[in-house]
């Protein structure tokens, strides 16, 4: 089918579903799995109400969205109290995000292909993305801004990419954008084409990189100033109270509302005098991943950003299902890696278990009263394991592909194996009467040298 027809069908299907069950957003808005204190629509509504009644929404602790949302939903689109208009806006955001994903895919594959429809479907049919969006969680806009930034970066337009990324910096917790900045600049400098099979060293034009960094910083500051004006009493005063309430939240974790991440339970149980130390540990732990991943995958920064999104989806504070959703949907961009995945089915099954356990144990704790917080925490651990398994597997596969050896078939398409002799099929050793399992292939001759290359 034509990609455009598929796209239209998917978007209208979603819209039809959301509009024919108008009670769905209300039923989902309290769900702890779909929205966190940073993304809940309920809190956004509260903040807008306070703002419109001339009360600083950041003086309390209910509202932690960016001021940019305030200006968006009070001046440009004053629709937050109209469910139908909200559904339209959120669906449009999702459609735009899916379209950006398709454009990223086109940039990477070098033109339109028959897979475009599949890429759009991977985003629009992903329940992890679909449900938060039905619950009108603002994580939809976070994902949209990240994908837009990546899309512009892939297409080489640096200023729009940096602007979109500055927007993402404002909408998402700051650590998220900090993690993605380096690979994003990498994409801008070396392009989106796949070079996983043929790793080479990245030579960075330091001057250009600094210039891009400075441009990004300017955008962030301009948007920040705009935000400060929005919150200010009148147009001439700037107010910076929102910085601590929005960016600071994911660093200081003042709100311990349960979510699917690993932070909340840990900090619920902790004595107060350990808090600063462990907050530091948890935050720095996230930052640790930037350099190794960026260096290891310097030849393919888009892949590096994909992996860092996966790491964020495992370890960040105030996690919602939309974060692992973005990671899983982005996996569609790298079909050359699929055959090298070692345990795709177990990862999927872990996600299936987590997706079933989370609502179930949440209900046992909060509505049935037969379980307690530990039940839900156990389910979030399963979620953590599922996310971790995904990241580790993609990380391995991204490196393994450089060795080659499995000219596998990905979705019926023969994948070109660079650097190998083209023979992807390996013989079984005769002395061992062992049937080789799918994941464990005898390696080609000379693989060790190539392994060294990857290791560097």
């Amino acid at each position: 089918m034509d990609a455009r027809a598929v796209f239209a069908l998917l978007v209208s299907g979603r819209l039809g579903l959301a509009l024919s069950f108008p009670w769905l957003p209300d039923a989902l808005k309290y769900d702890h799995m779909l929205s966190s204190p940073l993304t809940a629509r309920l809190r956004l509504q509260e903040g807008i109400f306070l703002y419109q009644h001339d009360i600083d929404p950041y003086s309390g602790s209910a509202f932690r969205h960016s001021p940019l949302y305030l200006s968006l939903f009070t001046t440009l689109l004053p629709i937050i109290s109209s469910p139908t208009a909200c559904i339209l806006l959120w669906t449009a955001a999702d459609a735009l995000a899916a379209y950006s994903l398709v454009r990223i895919w086109r940039a990477r594959a070098g033109g339109a292909s028959e897979r475009d429809g599949l890429v759009a479907a991977a985003y629009l049919l992903n329940p992890y993305l679909f449900l938060p969006s039905l619950g009108l969680s603002t994580s939809t806009f976070e994902n949209l801004s990240i994908l837009l930034a990546l899309m512009f970066a892939c297409e080489g337009s640096s200023s729009p990419a940096l602007l979109a990324f500055a927007l993402a910096t404002h909408l998402t917790p700051p650590l998220s954008s900090l993690l993605l900045l380096l690979p994003l600049l990498g994409v801008l400098l070396s392009g989106p084409a796949s070079s996983l099979e043929d790793p080479c060293t990245f030579t960075s034009p330091a001057l250009r990189m600094t210039r891009l960094g400075a441009e990004y910083l300017t955008y962030v500051l301009v948007l920040g100033a705009a935000a400060a004006i929005v919150v200010g009493d009148d147009t001439y005063t700037l107010k910076w109270g929102w910085v601590g309430q929005t960016w600071g939240t994911s660093l200081t974790l003042p709100d311990l509302t349960p979510n699917i991440g690993l932070w909340w339970y840990f900090f619920t149980e902790m004595f107060d005098h350990f808090r600063p130390f462990f907050l530091g540990v948890f935050s720095i732990h996230l930052v640790i991943y930037i350099m190794p991943i960026s260096i290891k995958f310097q030849h393919d920064p888009l892949y590096a950003s994909f992996l860092l999104i996966g790491i964020l989806a495992t370890f960040k504070a105030y996690l919602t299902l939309a974060d692992p959703g973005l990671f899983l949907s982005m996996g569609i961009l790298f079909p050359e890696v699929w055959t090298y995945l070692r345990h795709p089915l177990p990862t999927f099954l872990l996600h299936l278990h987590a997706a079933l356990l989370l609502p179930l144990l949440h209900a046992l704790w909060t509505s049935h009263g037969t379980g307690n917080a530990n039940f839900f925490y156990a389910a979030t651990l399963v979620m953590g394991v599922a996310n971790g398994a995904g990241v580790v597997d993609w990380c391995w596969a991204g490196m393994r592909i450089a060795i080659g050896g499995r000219g596998g078939v990905a979705g019926g398409r023969k994948i070109r194996v660079k650097g190998g002799d083209g023979e992807g099929v390996l013989e079984e050793e005769k002395d061992e009467e062992v049937k080789t399992t799918h994941s464990e292939w005898e390696l080609e001759e000379g693989w060790e040298e190539r392994w060294e290359v990857v290791q560097e």
């Binding site: 099954l349 278990h353 499995r406 078939v409 992807g424 099929v425 013989e427 079984e428 080789t436």
Partner: protein
């Protein structure tokens, strides 16, 4: 690095080779564990977890005067029944009696619309405000008009209602209640109380037409339901299973056990099962062992103990797996209320109103002591006998082991689908004779095909459920069910016609289908076991081996016996137990029990998928 890779390879090869025996071992241990659940060493003695309860620590004041009052109420009720009083007349009588006591009393009219016709009735209830507290919490003492004997088959619960009425008169005079007491007489068996509870909590479903309640009270924490239909009773039975497999907090039952034993002097049983050790001459009819086992073995004390506990476990399994409430108390659990039924096991003696009143009075005092809700984690148990129970850790592994074995089977099928053997001949450099070599070639897996088949079967499950819950199906039950079973025989060929064949180099669809089928079934079993162990165990028994053993036929025509077996396993229940089907539909429509939809939308499609695996030819 190389050694690490080699070691890992050798290890996974080892597991892969031993997988069949590992799976067999898991199945055997899992099924054996299920059989051994009633064994005494696996159970432990019950104890009170919540210290505030202090059961059987109070003097009771219920006396023969109150028994006389209960007798008088009984005469009036029997007169009503003798005159074939309508539901409304009965409710008016009870409301008037409550009002005479000075309680705030009222009547609730309700009507459910179901596919088998409307269900209507009248409930009477009264609220006694707590003399000690502000009435933020409440305890319910209830009786329904019909007793739970034979699942509500028209035995009126006269003495149960008289007990509630006389208790109302008695408890009103005491000043020590820290919680409101609510007395409810529900009409019919389950539907009356269901309507009352929904109206009380403001969760009126769309098919229920009812008045709003005139009087209300606080949050209900505990409920005791009294079921006393015989003339006298010998034992006090405890019924505790609620809708959708929910159980009350075990502390409530344990308290009742202590109170009945030490305050009331009445032996406690689980359900109406009598302990064979009390009736040495009846051991033969109480044994669950078949008669070909030598009677010396069957008569041994250990075998009798085993069969007593096995009957208790099986009964709990039957209620819980089907999501049935074993009595009126089962409706309360949904609202986070711990509730049980006190069932007076009909006998010629020796106990009556006197013992029952004392026990209820003391149990209410225990419930009155609570300062916070009963603890979490005491909700997952199997009551093997009144004084012994099993913790979750001692029974859960049985179902989990089977689900793990199924998961292994599914993963192996997935691995197998990814590779194929290719024979080819080469001539080696030394000698010129060609040698045949085997090499393993990776192949793609038709994931999308298998997923489409699965989605189609589940959609058909939804269609099946909406079909059997229509009025029309209920009316023409027997012919329709046979037609449906027959249709399920033809379905696979219809489905498979519509699915395009994958390319010839890809793995056969059945391998991926079987893999997904097993993995999904395993996931369902292990997730369900947390919520409702009995249902998970039932699924493990019905799905475990059949799904694992499903394989395509090697002969040209599909072997009909194997195929028919799966079809009967999937939809045979439609024709074999029509009453169960009607009950399940009624339970879904009126009480919201998930069992019917679950069977149609999850269980049937899973078995159909296995039958489709058999339909393929290898």
């Amino acid at each position: 690095m190389v050694t690490k890779l080699r070691r890992r390879r050798a290890f996974s090869a080892l597991i892969y080779h031993r997988l069949s025996s590992v799976m067999a071992a898991l199945f055997i241990v899992g099924y054996l564990w299920m059989i051994l659940i009633p064994l005494p060493p696996l159970s432990q003695g019950t104890y009170i977890d919540e210290n505030a309860l202090q059961p059987a620590q109070v003097n009771t004041y219920w006396n023969w005067v109150d028994v006389h009052k209960a007798d008088q109420y009984l005469y009036q009720l029997e007169a009503l029944r003798h005159n074939n009083a309508t539901s409304e007349q009965r409710a008016v009588f009870i409301r008037n009696e409550f009002s005479k006591l000075g309680l705030a009393a009222s009547i609730q009219m309700y009507e459910f619309s179901t596919s088998s016709g409307p269900v209507r009735g009248h409930n009477a209830y009264a609220i006694m405000a707590s003399p000690r507290a502000s009435g933020t919490e409440a305890i319910v003492i209830s009786a329904s008009w019909i007793s739970c004997i034979d699942e509500g088959s028209n035995t009126p619960n006269m003495r149960g209602i008289s007990t509630v009425l006389s208790l109302a008169a008695f408890l009103k005079n005491q000043s020590l209640w820290a919680k409101d007491l609510i007395f409810v007489i529900g009409d019919n068996y389950l539907d009356g109380m269901h309507a009352w509870l929904n109206a009380y909590h403001g969760t009126i479903p769309s098919n229920l037409n009812t008045d709003l309640l005139q009087h209300s009270s606080g949050v209900i924490w505990t409920a005791l339901n009294i079921d006393y239909s015989g003339h006298s009773f010998s034992h006090l039975g405890v019924f505790f299973e609620g809708l959708n497999g929910r159980l009350p907090n075990q502390d409530l039952m344990n308290s009742l056990y202590l109170i009945a034993t030490y305050t009331g002097g009445v032996p406690v049983t689980v359900y109406d099962h009598l302990d064979p050790s009390e009736f040495p001459n009846k051991w033969e009819e109480m044994s669950i062992f078949p008669s070909w086992i030598p009677s010396a073995i069957r008569k041994s004390a250990y075998a009798q103990l085993y069969s007593y506990r096995a009957r208790n476990v099986l009964r709990q399994l039957g209620y819980q797996a089907r999501g049935r409430a074993s009595g009126v108390h089962g409706l309360f659990h949904k609202f986070r209320i711990d509730a049980i039924t006190l069932y007076a096991v009909p006998a010629t003696g020796p106990h009556g109103f006197h013992a029952l009143g004392k026990i209820v009075e003391s149990t209410l005092r225990t419930a009155n002591n609570l300062l916070e809700r009963l603890h979490a984690s005491f909700f997952f148990f199997i009551l093997t006998s009144p004084g012994t129970f099993m913790k979750i850790g001692t029974f859960l592994p049985s179902a989990i082991l089977i689900s793990v074995a199924m998961m292994f089977g599914g993963l192996r099928e997935w691995v197998d689908a990814g590779v194929t053997q290719q024979h080819y001949t080469t001539t080696s450099k030394g000698d010129k004779t060609p040698t045949t070599k085997v090499k393993w070639v990776p192949r793609s897996r038709p994931v999308l095909h298998a997923l489409i088949i699965m989605i189609i079967t589940h959609i058909m499950g939804i269609a099946l459920f909406s079909l059997i819950s229509t009025r029309w199906y209920m009316d023409s039950n027997s012919t329709c069910s046979l037609a449906l079973v027959g249709l399920s025989l033809f379905l696979p060929s219809i489905i498979l016609q519509g699915i395009p064949q994958p390319s010839s180099t890809a793995a056969p669809v059945w391998m991926v289908l079987k893999s997904f089928n097993l993995c999904f079934a395993s996931t369902i079993i292990s997730i369900t076991s947390l919520l409702n162990f009995s249902l998970a165990a039932a699924l493990a028994v019905t799905l475990g081996l059949p799904l694992t053993l499903a394989s395509p036929s090697s002969i040209a025509s599909p072997p009909l016996i194997k195929y028919a077996f799966y079809c009967i396993l999937a939809t045979g229940w439609l024709a074999l137990c029509p009453r169960e089907v009607a009950d399940a539909i009624w339970n879904w429509e009126v009480l919201g029990v998930w069992f019917g939809p679950f069977v149609c939308i999850i269980y049937v499609p899973l078995v159909i998928q296995a039958s489709l695996v058999c339909f393929y030819q290898s």
